[in-house]
């Protein structure tokens, strides 16, 4: 089965991302959903089902039912590591494509800062096997392996941080509106070698929402709905560090999900006008270039260095500022990417607008690179 042209995005919303000490999860969820309702020109009563993506901020469908007072409709919580948000969107799209519902809501959120935590802590439940893994340590091991394989060093990573921080200055809802220099990035304190503070996305609060409907009725809501061209999801081993032969120079889950999305869309990377990808760490963005097919294997570091990923470049990557600058409230991120792509396809992205954008790709990555989710959206 192919999802192409069966489902449309008719409205998106996004709360302010950041250190939202003055906002509860409820405040952010209501902000994101209200914007999406207005964008789609619908009333909440028209929503027939909903999916909510969150890693750890709630357990169940009540995460949406209670703040939004969306009672008596089916709501499902989706959790798939950092890809929870886009997988919630994917499930919403599939239910509409299956003909079960006409109009549905997918919303992702995360409230991380209330507890005072920095980062996500450790994963895993085994007493000693896989003990002590943290997000930065897992991706740092990929960075060291990538450096050893291609003979480069962390200066390549710094260029990603500089670009995404620059883009963030043009994103009013981003966590950071702050330029950084290569020197600042390189001299920042180490988090997990070789990754320094500016190689890591921040710990962020936020919520994002999207209204999805049947493509054949989409124009009754707005004249310019966006069409879902393809969505791929791939799950590979969540313990790559125990998988003999795992190369650590890319994430097969991303490549698999991208291939699936391109095939459904009947497109190649040449058709893509902009990419929002999962730059949880600077090394991840470089690996994503290669896994998404923007460039050849081993050339990702050149892709950013040559400015091909910048706004105005070959295929602008993360015009929003990415996870690096926009922030990464885990469950919200995948849907925030859909929100960003929609801003560009609707020509509403302001100073960071990618010109003449008609097709956008969003890529959400979960776990230690083990869950890849790729969505292609187009304006026609």
């Amino acid at each position: 089965m192919n999802i192409r042209d069966k489902v449309a995005v008719i409205g998106v919303g996004c709360s302010k991302f950041g250190e939202n000490y003055d906002m509860s999860a409820e405040d952010m969820i209501v902000a994101a959903a209200s914007e999406a309702y207005a964008d789609a020109r619908i009333e909440p009563s028209q929503i027939q089902a909903a999916w909510v993506g969150t890693l750890s901020s709630a357990m169940a469908g009540n995460a949406l039912a209670d703040p939004l007072k969306l009672f008596n409709i089916p709501i499902t919580r989706v959790e798939n590591y950092c890809a929870s948000g886009m997988d919630a969107f994917r499930n919403a799209c599939m239910a509409v494509a299956a003909g079960m519902y006409d109009v549905v809501l997918a919303l992702g959120f995360e409230k991380l800062r209330d507890s005072g935590q920095r980062g996500l802590g450790t994963f895993g439940t085994h007493p000693v096997i896989g003990y002590g893994t943290t997000a930065p340590s897992l991706f740092a091991m990929a960075a060291n392996r990538y450096f050893a394989t291609y003979g480069i060093d962390k200066r390549a990573l710094a260029k990603v941080a500089v670009k995404n921080h620059h883009n963030g200055t043009m994103s009013p809802k981003a966590h950071f509106q702050m330029e950084v220099t290569e020197e600042q990035v390189l001299s920042a304190p180490l988090i997990c070698s070789p990754l320094g503070l500016f190689d890591c996305c921040p710990t962020t609060d936020g919520a994002a929402a999207v209204i999805v409907c049947r493509a054949d009725i989409a124009k009754s809501f707005r004249p310019d709905p966006l069409l879902v061209k393809g969505i791929g999801l791939a799950v590979t081993s969540g313990e790559p560090y125990l998988k003999p032969g795992f190369a650590y120079t890319g994430f097969p889950a991303t490549a698999q999900a991208a291939q699936s999305a391109y095939e459904q869309a009947g497109m190649t990377v040449k058709d893509i006008d902009l990419v929002e990808c999962h730059d949880c760490f600077t090394i991840t963005e470089i690996l994503n270039y290669e896994d998404l097919g923007l460039c050849k294997k081993g050339e990702g570091w050149r892709y950013v260095e040559e400015g091909r990923a910048s706004i105005g470049g070959e295929i602008p990557v993360n015009p929003s500022g990415g996870l690096k600058s926009f922030g990464h409230p885990i469950g919200a991120t995948g849907i925030r990417m859909i929100y960003e792509v929609a801003q560009h396809l609707w020509n509403k992205a302001g100073a960071r607008q990618v010109k003449n954008a008609e097709v956008g790709l969003a890529h959400n990555l979960g776990g230690p690179g083990s869950i890849g989710c790729v969505t292609i959206l187009a304006s026609s």
Partner: protein, 467 residues
């Protein structure tokens, strides 16, 4: 002149009979019982509850000040008065202040409020204490937990201040340093003789002189005291009649309630005072404080929300010293980390964790760790052959993790490809971070990873190969 506008008290529900405490340690019992703040109470909550009664229907937003006194403030750094003010819904512009570190803090807060209050202003003075004597000491029997609050103002006073007197005197009788959990008193009668008796006498005489009064003029004397006996000794020769003039200290029912005690005694006096009565209050600690009030006609209409005596009657007696020990966290629950562990998994995965057994696929030959049910490489489902893994290998990749808390940062996570097959994910130990590089030979060494769930969790780490 300024005076007392309202008062309130708080006596916790729990009692501990001193006989029970004495029996626990084989010490003589001092008799009677003491109050015990429940596990969910502290100096702050008791002061708040007394304050709520004291405020009654008064608009809290008219308070010009909220003063909190205690020697057992819940935070070492962090004001309690600000919390009290917020609970009461006081105006954010209210002046808040904590009076701490001395037993005299309760009366000092009261005297300061009397000095400061002007015009139609009102200042709330509250005190709460839950002081700790060392377990297995008689001192532990002395203390009781309680809260008290006084609203000070100039308009509509039920008792008008006639004078105040303060004596500040350096003296080390009872103390607690930053390192100590329990109060310490110098043994014997030293503190009573050279501290308490002298300072109480000086403060009382000082205020009487200032007001032009003699002891017989006083209707009620509310004088803080570590015990009834100490009070008798202090007043000996001062000219008070203990029976008719002096408020009893609730020694048998509450115990020494610290900074709250003089305010509590003052409230007890006001509960039965009549217009024209002269009331003396005195507090001890690093010197002494005293004040004299003249009760006004307004006392007649003052509504007593919850009298001390009725609160003393409402009680639950703790069945054992152990219960008190749990309430005060005297029995420490052993520290457990947030790390996950369980003996069940340690048993089930014993061969992998301790003996370092992995699996070898009969179909594709891939050696893997742990012992998967299905081959990670080719998906063979017929079961892997259990093999002992080699303990040497090469570093495939690594990171020095400065985020993870450890006594010896950084934590170095490593992926090691073992010689002869099998990949493990372990920590690197016994090495300088600068030495570590991809491809370096390493050997596994048996170590303790963590103590999650109070269990020693042993497993293998890697270290640079030793010749």
């Amino acid at each position: 002149m300024a005076g007392i506008v309202a008062y309130g008290t708080y006596i916790p529900t729990y009692r501990l009979p001193r006989d029970l405490m004495a029996k626990e340690w084989g010490l003589p019992s001092l008799g009677g019982e003491r109050t015990v703040a429940s596990f969910d109470e502290d100096s702050l909550t008791m002061a708040v509850n007394a304050s709520i009664d004291a405020l009654g229907n008064r608009d809290p937003r008219t308070l010009a000040g909220v003063f909190f006194a205690s020697t057992t403030s819940p935070y070492r750094e962090k004001q309690a008065a600000a919390t009290v003010a917020t609970v009461l819904d006081a105006n954010p512009a209210v002046r808040t202040m904590d009076f701490t570190d001395t037993l005299r803090a309760g009366t000092s807060a009261l005297l300061t409020a009397l000095d400061l209050v002007r015009g139609d202003q009102q200042i709330l003075v509250c005190a709460g204490d839950a002081r700790m004597g060392e377990p297995d000491s008689q001192q532990e029997q002395n203390y009781g937990d309680a809260g008290a609050a006084i609203v000070v103002g100039a308009d509509g006073v039920i008792a008008e201040a006639m004078g105040t007197y303060t004596l500040s005197q350096e003296f080390l009788g009872t103390w607690r340093t930053e390192e100590q959990d329990y109060l310490r008193s110098f043994p014997g009668a030293f503190e009573t003789k050279f501290g308490y008796n002298r300072f109480i006498a000086a403060a009382v005489q000082g205020v009487l002189q200032q007001c032009g009064l003699r002891p017989p003029d006083i209707t009620h004397a509310a004088i803080a005291a570590p015990s009834q006996r100490a009070l008798q000794a202090a007043l000996r020769g001062l000219g008070f009649d203990l029976k008719s003039q002096v408020q009893e200290t609730f020694w048998n029912t509450i115990g020494d309630a610290g900074t709250a005690q003089p305010l509590l005694l003052l409230a007890a006096v006001l509960e039965r005072a009549k217009p024209g009565d002269l009331v003396l209050v005195a507090g001890y600690g690093d010197g002494g404080d005293a004040a004299v009030f003249r009760v006004t006609d307004a006392i007649a209409g003052f509504p007593i929300v919850r009298s001390i005596y009725s609160q003393i009657e409402v009680k639950r007696t703790l069945p054992s010293y152990g219960k008190y020990a749990r309430f005060r966290k005297l029995l420490r629950k052993e520290y457990t980390t947030t790390d996950t562990s369980t003996p069940v998994v340690l048993l089930r995965d014993q061969k992998e964790i301790l003996s370092l057994h992995g699996g070898k696929c009969p179909q594709c030959g891939t050696v893997q760790f742990p012992l998967h049910r299905i081959c990670i490489e080719c998906g063979y489902r017929g079961g892997l052959e259990e093999v002992k893994l080699p303990r040497t290998g090469k570093l495939f990749t690594f990171t020095h993790d400065y985020l993870t808390e450890t006594p010896d940062p950084p934590t170095t996570h490593a992926v090691v490809d073992l010689d002869g097959g099998g990949r493990v994910y372990v920590q690197l130990t016994d090495c300088e971070p600068e030495q570590v590089e991809i491809g370096m030979p390493v050997e596994l060494t048996f170590r303790k990873y963590h103590e999650g769930a109070g269990i020693k969790n042993y497993f293998w780490k890697a270290r640079p190969l030793r010749k």
